[in-house]
């Protein structure tokens, strides 16, 4: 009897990696969903190249998908993988730096050929030695030839046969992690069953053969058992940040009693928001795929003028193109939400990689004094709530809102306890109610918000536009009027502070070090702060979701700590914003511009250094 090694880990990170055409994203997603169904808490991180099909076998064409599963609440997809599935030498090379010491590497030995070594630019034919992977568990599996052998009995062309390779790997990993295959089988049947039963059969056959291969050769396979995490009771689903964002807006429209309009242009990594909303004609969503980014926001502004909840979604370069129109919505004081799923910049930059470098663009990237509200989501699932709240602020305060997410949140997924609509706060759009008293720029004395009268409402006919106006809505070049209106527009945004919660401190309210983060880094921030706290350090976390305006108690929170460190995936944009808005503190910085999330280890190292100094 062979002895199976069972490794019990609290958390385990698995990375699937291959050519961008190898189906790694699907493999990873299916594995994550299967795990989530078993009750594991999971967090995923797709990492794919910007070229849809980069040259096969090259390092640039490697597509990866990492999933972390665990017993406790998982907040990150894991810095370093415990298991790597590498479909070719390029995938091994691209991921060598992201492996836990002693990790297991399952690789397609068939693809470790001279030709592929050359494509991935190895100097020798001993990939493992060259990459210094001596202490790693090497698991060579002839994935390509086994897949071919497995499908020999079917009359399938070579291309279709090779496209089943990922199912072999998936079957094998499912065996390793003791996952049942029924969910995946159901998925394959649904996807191919009716259209091409032959392809369905092939995928199922290879999936099972992969699973059985793992079972048969268990003498060489370390097995991981990962226990379900104890979490909140309720109904759960797996959701990624882009879907959560899209759904947040549908929920907001329903709550507000308005129709939802999205005008948008496809751009990585934000496209999925437009797709997710285009799917929802059943809920009456009007989706308009515009001719460009500018038309995306301009159609949204038009829809807002016509009385809809109107949004547009984009990423950094598209956000830049929308700047002028965003200024129009500031001036016209129309409620729109612009979602910026940030990616690496400047220019085209790193389209598929994450970064937080559009913060200052969001705050200031327009002509004139052009204040608006800026929010940032911090986990894939809370994108739902921040999208919802962005819409609430826009509709109740007649102001454009920028919602910042990022590639990591947008593509990353996690199990989410779904709320019911009655858990969400009411949304009361500021519709005009008295035509006798209506003037376009009459304001509520408390909130400074104007009223929203839309075409079709009788007795409210009026004109707005990009030119400065007086309260009655007439064009005005009066110096005093512009001076005052500029201040009013700024004050109106500041008054949104009354709608936002106090800044929360995670950990003790005072201590040696306050770690400050914002937006999509939350998972890694909280994990690293937990590590410090477990080690007995007086370290707490303050993570910002409300960027403009900042929570009321920000300065008070900061005053209770000896040191403050601001961690962000840029050169220090939030830190410089805090220096301006919350002066009087020394803000240390941890910055990373690699197109990747923070790793818990690097954060911990930085915090330790700061405490020693």
């Amino acid at each position: 009897m062979k002895n199976t090694k069972v490794i019990e880990l609290e958390e385990v990170a698995i990375r699937f990696s291959g050519d961008s055409g190898d189906g790694m994203q699907l493999t990873g997603t299916l594995f994550s969903d299967t795990s989530a169904l078993l009750g594991n808490d999971i967090s995923t991180f797709p990492d794919y190249p910007s070229e849809i099909r980069a040259p096969q076998g090259t390092v640039g064409g490697v597509s990866g998908f990492q999933v972390q599963l665990g017993k406790k609440k998982i907040t990150t997809p894991g810095d370093l993988a415990h298991v790597l599935v590498a479909m070719n030498p390029a995938a091994l090379k691209a991921n060598a730096a992201f492996l836990n010491p002693g990790a297991s590497i399952i690789f397609d030995v068939d693809s470790f050929s001279e030709k592929n070594f050359e494509k991935a630019q190895y100097k020798t034919h001993d990939a493992f030695a060259e990459l210094n992977l001596h202490d790693f568990v090497q698991i060579p599996v002839p994935i390509t030839s086994m897949t071919k052998e497995s499908l020999k009995y079917l009359e399938l062309d070579n291309k279709s046969v090779l496209r089943c390779k990922n199912m072999f790997a998936l079957g094998l990993i499912c065996w390793m992690f003791d996952r049942p295959l029924d969910y995946i089988e159901g998925f394959i049947q649904k996807k191919f069953g009716k259209k091409s039963p032959l392809i369905a059969e092939a995928n199922l056959k290879v999936l099972h053969d992969g699973y059985n291969y793992g079972m048969n050769l268990q003498h060489m396979t370390p097995q991981y058992i990962v226990h379900p995490a104890p979490i909140e009771k309720g109904l759960y689903r797996n959701i990624n940040g882009n879907y959560a964002t899209a759904w947040g807006f549908i929920a907001a429209a329903e709550k507000a009693g308005l129709e939802l309009f999205i005008g948008s242009y496809p751009i990585t990594p934000a496209t999925e928001v437009l797709q997710a909303l285009s799917e929802r004609k059943d809920l009456g969503v009007k989706s308009f795929q515009a001719e460009d980014e500018i038309a995306g926001i301009c159609t949204a502004i038009g829809a807002a003028f016509a009385g809809h909840l109107a949004i547009t979604s984009t990423s950094g370069p598209g956000f830049a193109l929308k700047s002028e129109a965003l200024g129009l919505s500031v001036m016209a004081e129309l409620p729109i939400v612009v979602v910026n799923v940030q990616r690496g910049g400047p220019s085209t930059g790193l389209p598929t990689k994450t970064e937080q470098s559009d913060l200052l663009q969001s705050l200031y990237g327009r002509n004139g004094e052009s204040p608006l509200v800026v929010l940032a989501a911090s986990t894939p699932s809370d994108c739902f709530y921040y999208a919802y709240y962005s819409a609430k602020i826009a509709l109740e305060r007649m102001v454009p809102v920028v919602l910042l997410t990022d590639g990591f949140l947008g593509n990353g997924s996690e199990p989410w306890r779904v709320p019911t609509m009655d858990e969400l706060p009411p949304i009361t759009p500021r519709r005009a109610t008295n035509p006798e008293l209506f003037k376009p720029y009459n304001r509520d004395p408390e909130t400074l918000v104007r009223e929203w009268a839309v075409p079709g409402m009788e007795g409210y006919e009026h004109r707005i536009g990009g030119l400065e106006k007086n309260a009655a809505g007439a064009v005005s070049h009066d110096p005093e009027n512009h001076h005052i209106n500029t201040q009013i527009r700024a004050a109106k945004v500041e008054k949104v502070v009354d709608m936002i919660p106090d800044l929360e401190v995670i950990g003790e309210p005072e201590g040696d070090l306050l770690v400050v983060g914002w937006g999509g880094t939350y998972g890694h921030m909280i994990s690293s702060v937990n590590v410090m706290q477990d080690a007995g350090e007086k370290v707490s976390l303050a993570h910002f979701n409300y960027i403009k305006p900042l929570p009321k108690n920000t300065a008070e929170v900061f005053s209770k700590f000896k040191k403050i460190v601001v961690c962000e995936l840029n050169l220090g944009q939030f830190a410089s914003y805090l220096r301006d808005k919350v002066p009087g503190y020394q803000y240390h910085q941890v910055n990373k511009m690699k197109g990747l999330p923070f790793s818990v280890n690097e954060l911990v190292e930085n915090f330790e250094k700061l405490l020693e100094a």
Binding site: K233, G234, K286, C298, T299, Y385, V418, A474
Partner: protein
Amino acid sequence: MTKFNYTAKDFKSAAEVRWCPGCGDYAIMNAVQKTMADMDIEHKDFAVISGIGCSSRFPYYMSTYGFHTIHGRAAAVASGVKSANPDLTVWVITGDGDSLAIGGNHFIHLVRRNIDLNLILFNNKIYGLTKGQYSPTSDRGIITKTSPFGTIEDSFVTGQLVLGSRGTFFARSVDNNIKHTQEVLADAAKHKGTSIVEVLQNCVIFNDGIHDYITDPKFRAERQIFLKKGEPMIFGEQGNKGLILENGRLKVAIIGENGITPDDILVHDPSEDNLGLQVALINMTLPEFPVAMGVIRSVEAPVYDQEMKKQIKTVQAKRKVTCMDELLQSGNTWVVDGENCSEPVKFFDNKCFG
């Protein structure tokens, strides 16, 4: 019998009109206001959207809902307005710089989508608001402030662009011919889909007289041909000149000469999907031809805003998900209800919203 008995006055706002004395815009605005009054549609359902330029001040002078947007983007903003609320009657006021230069992309895509808007393009072949630079419709060689030695580029022909973008409606008129402009606008308003009306408009300050050769009322009959559905394409002081097709090309013929009879003259049918002939009519220039005025093309095609409405209705007729709660609970979900599980916390409670 009309329902509302509006007059042009009902569409004038209290704002002081600030175009230059003698500007062609005044006449066009009068025609628009008269057309709107005649449409017999409730005042509250009109929206006038403009971009940037002299003509784009237009909404301020109207008493309807109006939105003076940003340079080049009126077509995009109006597309959003009409898609959101197809019950509105939406007019776009724009110029040659606004729609054919900075807003060229929105213009062609608006036309391609065939959204039910009426767009009036004031073509004065110059940038007026910035004080006299050449525009995309300025003729090659024109001397302006930014082309002191003459331009070295050819101009757009608006109608070509519209038909090249699969336009369903294109008409042309002249600012000083209010009655005809009004007729054309009425046809544009009736058309289901994007109606583009190019009005040859005179800028008295920066390009005075640019269209005079065509528009001088003294020579109107000789230099313009007024195309009407179902009528022969006849023009001239004597009414004896007409258009015929010869070897596939348009030609001016004189009735009674060379054996030409009235039956040989082409009969105008804008509703016929005949791109070749319609482009040829658009392309006619003096002195060989008269310049074509009136509705040159008006064909039926699916209308974007109606299709959007219809698609939602079709999907909803068979929908399984009828509200957000159902969407949240649809698809792959699972229940967590273990012993060591905690009670759920509402997100917005958790975040202590006041």
